[in-house]
């Protein structure tokens, strides 16, 4: 595996941003973890100096246990065919970040989605209104503490299943003599045995 260009990028990043944790995951994948206040200078550095001109994706991960949101940027370099994944963690209680739409205009749409689904507030983005959901007044739905089954049960009519509905897994396992793993057993309770 030839990691020459990846290591070259990692060295360049480390020279400029000393606090960045750079990991070359494999060919064409570099992961950088960084403090959140260094993200705008880092992204413009990656765009202007390291040829990562394409922002391919921008997303958010909810780390409920750590009480953090993680913002993930994926940048692509057409010159070197390398993907740079930039990660940063922000506070979950009062999630705030700055907009990066001056670097990539398409970031505005990603920010609107993250705002709607996770409730992250992007300073400088003035279009953080209603995006995909209409009239949503509950917790942002992609947060892990939002209970979607409970919400669906409270807000929508649900039709009960058939009495004779059975999981076919039990029947197949009985014929072929294979073991059902423990985690799957709760889904395959046979009603006639209860």
């Amino acid at each position: 595996m030839n990691l020459e260009k990846e290591n070259k990028f990692a060295k360049q990043i480390n020279e400029t941003f000393h606090s960045a944790v750079v990991k070359v995951q494999r060919e064409r994948r570099i992961i950088v973890e960084l403090r959140s206040d260094l993200i705008p200078p880092f992204l413009s550095f990656a765009k202007e100096y390291l040829s990562f001109i394409h922002m391919a994706h921008y997303s958010c991960v909810d780390w409920l246990e750590e009480n953090k949101f993680e913002l993930v940027f994926m940048l692509w370099s057409y010159e070197e065919d390398v993907m740079l994944i930039v990660k940063t963690k922000i506070d979950r209680e009062k999630p705030e970040f700055v907009t990066i739409k001056h670097l990539w205009p398409q970031a505005e749409t990603y920010e609107r989605e993250i705002h709607e689904m996770y409730g992250v507030d992007f300073k400088g983005n003035d279009r953080l209104g209603e995006f995909i959901l209409e009239d949503w007044d509950d917790l942002p739905p992609m947060r892990r503490d939002f209970d979607t089954v409970k919400y669906a049960g409270e807000h929508y009519f649900t039709r009960p299943g058939r009495e004779d509905a059975q999981d076919v897994r039990e029947t197949i396992a009985r014929h072929s003599g294979e073991e059902i793993p423990d985690f799957a057993k709760k889904y395959s309770i046979r009603r006639d045995e209860e």
Binding site: E134, D137, R159
Partner: protein, 181 residues
């Protein structure tokens, strides 16, 4: 005007025959099920031999085909589409999602039982139903029309309050026009 009950019966038979033989489906696809409509309509399955064909606007259509899951946002549009359609009009619920939510049973944003919000004449189950199943659903609808039993629109008018109440539960910001049919 002849006001004889046998004459009316004959008129009904002719009327139902005409209605069942030309079902125009409004070209409105919700969810993923709309992908089964092109093969149903085109040469392999050729739904037009049963008089089923697409129509451009809801005002010209007879059948509203709900193809798959309905988010609450789409439900608003579907209700408006349905209320703009002129009599006779029928609704076909297509796929598991319209029956019990299907694979979206725990989704925060899709309705689970379509018949709580709109009067459904025929359900076609499956995820997705094949074009054969779609055509068989249409034939079932034609049979109901022939017998004069496909009276979903009548049901909707009579129980409008009940349907409205259910619709308002999921559509929080209600800004819908009132039609006087």
């Amino acid at each position: 005007m002849i006001n004889d009950k046998y004459a009316n019966k004959i008129v009904d038979i002719i009327q139902n025959f005409a209605r069942k033989s030309s079902l125009w489906v409004v070209a409105y696809g919700t969810g993923c099920g709309a992908i089964e409509i092109p093969p149903t309509m085109t040469s392999r399955y050729d739904a037009e031999r049963f008089g089923i064909r697409g129509s451009a606007t809801p005002r010209q259509a007879d059948v509203l085909l709900i193809t798959g899951y309905l988010s609450t946002k789409t439900l608003k549009r579907v209700i408006r589409t349905y209320e703009q359609m002129q009599d006779p009009k029928y609704v076909i619920g297509f796929g598991s999602c319209t029956i019990n939510g299907g694979m979206y049973w725990d989704s925060y944003n899709t309705i689970k039982a379509l018949d709580q919000y709109l009067p459904v004449d025929v359900f076609i189950n499956g995820c997705m139903p094949r074009p054969e199943a779609v055509i068989s659903g249409f034939i079932k609808l034609q049979e109901l029309i022939k017998e004069g039993k496909a009276n979903g629109a009548q049901k909707y008018k009579e129980n409008l309050e009940w349907y409205r109440e259910n619709q308002r539960k999921v559509i929080k910001n209600w800004k819908m026009p009132d039609y006087n049919w």
